[in-house]
Symmetry: C2
Subunit: 303 residues, 2 copies
């Protein structure tokens, strides 16, 4: 099924305990699209500057990623620089230069307007809503990411966009902040009254939790021997999740749980190498093998 | 099967965001025995002072807990006072008065000496080993807890005791400290070369992980709406784990995984009320219902 992602395509400078890169392809839409493309064709909407070369675009080539919605603007692409702590649990932003992204106005090419699965990566909630208005028929699934910046600065706009959202995919501190509640379950229930029927809470190395109505699904994190770089893991998670859901073409409880598993698989692979390196070199066989590892790792019999 | 626990029986003063108590029954062996007794008869070895009254002993009465090994000494019982942070993730010790526990020399009553399942709660590793020497036949399972204090102060003694241990039950930071490795998987593998064939890593609200040979089992935490007091949750986890294992009477992979589930169940109940309050008022039906909730919460199909 048709899967649309709207979000940033950027260049990142990354400093991690296991290495550094000065300029590598990044951005939420990039990680999402690469991860999702293993499951489903992806349509990407974003903006890059004139520093984005054919060599950069090569990361998307040979995959089921439609770049008709990737706008080229004059100026430089969004640039982010970050440094991670030794145990990868903390990071500092060394630079955030929005550049052409500052004036980003998402425009859907005509053939994108029938998209049935939509992921609105972490951008201004007003822009997120403007994307939905360009889609002809109510999509089957609208999923959304956001962050503390929008929760604090544009609470009214975010609330409005949330009313048009089926699935909110955020982390635990964002869940608590959005709800204004310390307890995660209470916070989650509060958020589920804001519009989304499904809340997916990303918990990094501790896995993920999904709440839908009265049903809760929780998956532990996949322990890695040599975690390298957490950048983009949350977006790759969303990509695996939405890609799996779009590929299933059904929104059954089983399909949702499986989507969380594949989201976790894609997030865990992402952390294994710096930037998008691991995401670019995956096979579907590796993905399926890790999903089976998740199964072996979590299953038990009560009698 | 016969299950022995050796460890502290204490009085605690607890300050939590949801309430405080000045003097309540605590100690690792107490939490362990109460939790394990829902699954299996328990034999307890510990020491209390002359401030331990019949009213205090009532917590153990009417349960399958043998107190023949609970020594009465002159003086006061072990006393601990602690205060928890608002989100329960941090605590400070306000007082640690060993009292009669300072000279504790575990002595097994003759009828304890055939115990087949043994849990050595967090005490001096030399005392832990002295318990094993009092047991006639090599037990089927020897499980052990320890902490940073012993890892730092008595590394040689701890290593020696570990060579006689089947299962080590500790938390993630203790695993890293014991191995001197930052990565949890690497640390775990290092620890598994010290003697124990099974390592159980407690991760608090994030669940637990078990490593046995090449097999890994991971269970997420059980989210609570109103967590109240984490005191003793790790010992109740160990109690549920060992109680379930002893009740199974087999040490198969399935029995081990089920034991982790029941450990998690008992740990999660413990946190619901202050002190041992919740552990004292459980039913086996509630325990089984929560185990089924864990199952509903974690299961998925890959196709």
């Amino acid at each position: 099924m048709s899967l649309l992602v709207v979000g940033s395509v950027a260049f990142d400078a990354l400093e991690t305990p296991s290495g550094r890169v000065e300029r590598t392809l990044g951005g939420a839409a990039t990680y999402f699209a690469l991860a999702a493309s293993y499951f489903s064709p992806v349509r990407l909407v974003g903006v890059v500057g004139d520093d984005f070369t054919a060599r950069d675009a090569a990361a998307f080539r040979g995959r089921r990623i439609d770049l008709a919605g990737l706008e080229r603007a004059r100026g430089k692409s969004f640039f982010w620089a970050g440094r991670y702590s030794d145990d990868l649990t903390d990071r500092v932003s060394l630079a955030t230069e929005l550049n052409v992204f500052a004036k980003f106005q998402p425009k859907l090419p005509p053939h994108y307007r029938d998209s049935r699965y939509v992921f609105l990566a972490n951008i201004d909630p007003t822009l997120q809503l403007s994307v939905l208005r360009q889609i002809r028929r109510r999509p089957r699934v609208v999923a959304l990411d956001t962050m503390n910046y929008w929760i604090e600065r544009t609470p009214v706009e975010l609330r409005r966009t949330l009313r048009h959202t089926d699935i909110l995919i955020i982390n635990d501190s964002e869940t608590r902040q959005l709800a204004g509640k310390r307890n995660l379950l209470e916070a989650a229930e509060h958020v589920l009254r804001m519009g989304p029927r499904t809340l997916v809470i990303k918990r990094g190395e501790f896995g993920a939790m999904m709440l839908r109505g009265r049903s809760q699904f929780t998956i532990p994190g996949f322990s890695l021997r040599n975690p390298s770089d957490p950048t983009g893991a949350g977006d790759a998670f969303a990509g695996g999740f939405m890609g799996s859901l779009a590929a299933a073409g059904r929104v059954t409880p089983d399909a949702f749980r499986r989507a969380i598993v594949f989201g976790s698989v894609m997030g865990s692979f992402t952390v294994e190498r710096i930037g998008v390196e691991r995401l670019r070199r995956l096979t579907r066989a590796e993905i399926n093998a890790r999903a089976r590892e998740f199964r072996r790792m979590t299953r038990f019999r009560l009698q």
